[in-house]
């Protein structure tokens, strides 16, 4: 089936370059959903730790490998992004910072804070 209508289309998500605020908004939601499943992994890891040495040994093998470290790094990055953008939402809830001019600034602050917090956490835990 082809598009027969000659009228202009509204911005199409697949070709429309979303502004930073919109990109950060959908990433915030995806991050939140991903973290729900991360919480499931946290509980499973605690179960393995409670179950005894064998179950934990398997998990530990993965966590100390490079793949495990990259995975843990990404998890902390996603956590910090959701935290920082969540704080931004809490500020918006107080009806502050909603002007178009301040959205770009607060977006950049969130992205900067996400990287600074992630890197400093790993630096402190090194």
């Amino acid at each position: 089936m082809s598009w027969q209508d000659d009228r202009p289309m509204s911005p199409h998500l697949q070709i429309y370059d979303l502004p930073l605020t919109a990109k950060m908004s959908i990433i915030f939601r995806i991050a939140g959903a991903a973290l729900f499943f991360v919480m499931l992994l946290v509980v499973a890891a605690l179960g393995a730790l409670a179950a005894g040495a064998d179950a934990w040994a398997m998990l530990r093998g993965f966590l100390s490998d490079i793949e495990g470290r990259v995975f843990l790094f990404l998890v902390t990055l996603v956590f910090y992004y959701h935290l920082c953008n969540g704080v931004r939402h809490l500020v918006w809830d107080t009806v502050h910072g909603l002007e178009k001019s301040s959205l770009g600034i607060s977006g950049a602050v969130v992205l900067g804070a996400t990287f600074v917090l992630t890197l400093s956490t790993w630096w402190l835990a090194r």
């Binding site: 939601r29 939140g32 499931l40 605690l46 843990l72 956590f79 935290l83 969540g86 835990a125």
Partner: protein, 111 residues
């Protein structure tokens, strides 16, 4: 209070509680690659860590279930599928809220 208002408020209050817990938990995650089983178990033998981790799992799962509920309500049209997904989200969250602290207590009181 209307259902939407209490959901809004619960999401914000749980978010506030998670603000201090998150950096603490991320630091624990970052320490994991260099920790042995004894290190992690020893860390959970401290009542402060055990209680903070239990609080993180309970509040985090609750906050997560509130969020997953909004996602399901936004993208799945009302019907049987939506009801099943809403139930599943809350069931998983309640399971995590119960099992997480249970495992923590086992490790806390174990060797």
């Amino acid at each position: 209070m209307k259902k939407g208002s209490s959901h809004f408020l619960a999401q914000r209050v749980s978010a506030l509680l998670l603000i201090p817990l998150l950096p603490w938990f991320c630091f624990a995650l970052a320490s994991l690659p260099n920790s042995s089983r004894a290190d992690v178990a020893g860390w959970l033998h401290s009542p402060v860590n055990a209680l903070a981790l239990a609080a993180f799992i309970i509040v985090g799962s609750y906050h997560g279930a509130l969020g997953m509920q909004v996602i399901v309500e936004d993208y799945v049209s009302p019907g049987v599928a939506q009801r099943i997904l809403l139930l599943a989200g809350w069931a998983v969250a309640i399971g995590m809220m119960a099992l997480g602290p249970f495992f923590i207590f086992q490790i806390f009181s174990g060797p």
